[in-house]
């Protein structure tokens, strides 16, 4: 029990360390780049007063150390300041959009798992069969085809030609289906490969021989014994993929005109809305690390050998 708690604590520590590191890096990167950020924001024609005003707003007139600690303190409270372009609190802006992006990512993950896992397992279990070839072809295509192209294709087919789904906007689940499919297919291709390889490896292991030697049916051998070991690496990778998708499937959001985090950050970069950029980076880093943390925990639940370390 103690070991489990220590394990969780260590993973938590790693999470916090990552967030701190990212916050520090983004802080220094922006300030270390040659050029005064206030000038960059104000633009070439701004007057000295405007620049000074901006500088006061973003706080670059204060000593570096004080700025840094202030920044860290605010990060800890999830207060990323005020967006320069809209005047609204950064945190609020992010959270507004986060729901959408999260739903998109989760749906995308679900689709990819639903496609990849069964197909991957069948591919491994019946190697060189029709399903296996189907899986391999699908996996190759899925990896070769860019997701935005697929997105556009889906729009054309299922929103224009046959108006099954809405073209743009947000607000209902139906708006998310096509973008999630576009996202999910690319991920599925990778997961399928991984599942197949992992299952094939497991089926070659010695404990499978023992299972057969006990007279277990092939079904039990494959789906009760091999599967639980074979899925482990897939769980980890799927979790990481979820993290990526959260970080902003920017292109997909653009293609489908979804008001998600990705579009927000793109906008922030164009506008040089530097509190928003900072806040965005830290937020994404945090979300990603949190997911990794949860994946680690899940993995340790599934793989009893890891619990001690």
């Amino acid at each position: 029990m103690v070991e489990v708690l220590l394990f969780i604590l260590r993973r938590l520590g790693r999470l916090l360390l990552t967030v701190w590191l990212i916050s520090t890096i983004i802080f220094f990167v922006i300030r270390v780049i040659p050029g005064d950020p206030a000038l960059v924001i104000a633009g070439v024609d701004a007057s000295a007063e405007d620049v000074a005003a901006i500088r006061a707003r973003i706080g670059t007139d204060r000593p570096l150390a004080s700025q840094y600690f202030d920044w860290l303190w605010r990060v800890a409270r999830f207060d990323f300041g005020t967006s320069l372009s809209s005047g609204q609190p950064v945190t609020g802006l992010i959270l507004e959009r986060f729901g959408l992006t999260l739903s998109l990512a989760l749906l995308g993950l679900l689709i990819s798992l639903v496609v990849a896992l069964p197909l991957g397992v069948v591919s491994a279990v019946r190697r060189w069969s029709f399903w296996d070839y189907l899986g391999m072809v699908f996996s190759q295509l899925g990896m070769a085809v860019p997701s935005f192209w697929l997105g556009i294709l889906l729009l054309l087919a299922l929103a224009v030609k046959v108006p099954l789904f809405p073209l743009f906007g947000s607000g209902s689940l139906r708006h998310l289906v096509l973008p999630a499919v576009a996202l999910g297919i690319a991920r599925a291709a990778v997961l399928l490969r991984l599942t197949r390889v992992s299952m094939v490896e497991e089926l070659a292991k010695e404990y499978v021989i023992t299972a057969r030697a006990k007279g277990l049916t092939e079904r039990l051998v494959k789906y009760k014994h091999a599967l639980r070991n074979g899925l482990l690496p897939v769980v980890t990778i799927a979790g990481i993929q979820l993290g990526y998708m959260l970080g902003g499937a920017i292109i997909i959001e653009q293609v489908f005109s979804l008001p998600g985090l990705g579009r927000l950050f793109l906008f922030a970069v164009y506008q040089r809305d530097f509190p928003l950029i900072q806040g965005g980076v830290v937020f994404v880093a945090f979300a990603f690390s949190l997911i990794n943390f949860l994946v680690d925990i899940l993995y340790s639940v599934l793989n009893p050998r890891i619990r001690v370390g």
Partner: protein
């Protein structure tokens, strides 16, 4: 040259713990105060079961994994006091042959390159290296013409010969052999053992032979040390150990060894249960398994003492032949 070639005094190898969880393991002494002397020209056998520390000991006394306490003297010189360069110079005199020839030979290097590596590190010139490599290969029965080949082109027995040749090319005085034949087929083991004996005689080598195979050690060694959980519990000449094992663990070990003669094993009597008890913090570390101990054994950790004629044992109640058990 007679006299001790290797003296080990109170050698300790402690593994540090780091981080929260391994603090429990911090202070684990894989080798806990080991002392013995190896006479030049002898074969010194080190036996014990897995986890007793024999491999750690071998690595520590060669300074591959330097000891955390105690001294190692090679031909009178304390290795601990040497600089890195000085130690490198001594290394050539003490070579090691490992159990797995596959792990010991780099599959991407030709045999010639593998053999020459150690000498190159010592600054030996190319011609001299090639000469020695050829010599060493001949000594172990591999044709020098095959030196251009790669490890995978040889059989298991041949690969082990090559690792022995590599050790020999350094012109050592002492050869540490850690389970050198355990991975080989039975019919090949005898070949390698005979080779080792021949080499010992021809080149006047001294062997420190580590093995879990008691029959083999009984056959080869002049002196035997029995290790248990980081300590030597009994040490003596082979005839002494074989005819009159004093430590209960030694007795148990030798009684368990399968033999080619004698009676069949008797089926288990009820109660012969899996023993997993860890060592106690104080007292004799074998007490939990011993079955003969008493209060004194639980309280005192016995030291090795001489019972006469160079036969040492670390036990408060060593078993005599005419006692029961």
């Amino acid at each position: 040259m007679a006299g001790p070639i290797l003296e080990v005094r109170n050698l300790v190898k402690q593994f540090g713990g780091s981080g929260l969880v391994s603090r429990a393991r911090a202070g684990l002494k894989a080798v806990d105060g080991v002392s013995f002397t190896v006479t030049a020209g002898d074969t010194f056998g080190l036996v014990g079961e897995s986890g007793c520390g024999k491999t750690t000991l071998a690595r520590a006394l060669l300074y591959l994994d330097p000891p955390t306490g105690g001294e190692v003297l090679f031909q009178g010189t304390a290795l601990g006091g040497l600089s890195r360069a000085g130690l490198r110079g001594f290394r050539r005199h003490m070579q090691i042959v490992f159990q797995d020839p596959n792990g010991a030979l780099d599959p991407k290097m030709s045999i010639r390159a593998s053999l020459g590596e150690g000498l190159a590190n010592l600054g030996v010139g190319r011609e001299e290296r090639q000469r020695r490599a050829a010599e060493a290969l001949e000594l172990v029965g591999i044709q020098p013409a095959h030196a251009e080949r790669y490890p995978h082109e040889f059989s298991g027995g041949q690969k082990q010969r090559i690792t022995i040749a590599r050790a020999l090319s350094m012109d050592p005085r002492l050869l540490v052999l850690d389970e050198p034949v355990s991975n080989l087929d039975v019919s090949i083991q005898a070949q390698i053992i005979n080779l080792l004996l021949d080499l010992k005689n021809r080149l006047a080598l001294t062997y420190l032979f580590i093995s879990h195979d008691l029959n083999l050690v009984a056959y080869l060694a002049d002196r035997i040390a029995v290790m248990f959980r980081g300590r030597i519990v009994e040490l003596g000449s082979t005839p002494q150990i074989l005819s009159e094992p004093l430590h209960p663990y030694t007795r148990r070990l030798f009684a368990s060894v399968p033999r080619l003669t004698g009676e069949r094993i008797v089926p288990r009597i009820e109660g012969d249960v899996e023993d997993e008890s860890p060592s106690r913090a104080s007292g004799c570390r074998y007490a939990a398994r011993c079955g003969r101990g008493d209060l004194a054994c639980a309280a005192n950790d016995p030291e090795l003492h001489d019972t006469g004629g160079g036969h040492l044992v670390a036990c408060l109640q060593p078993e005599k032949i005419n006692q029961g058990g």
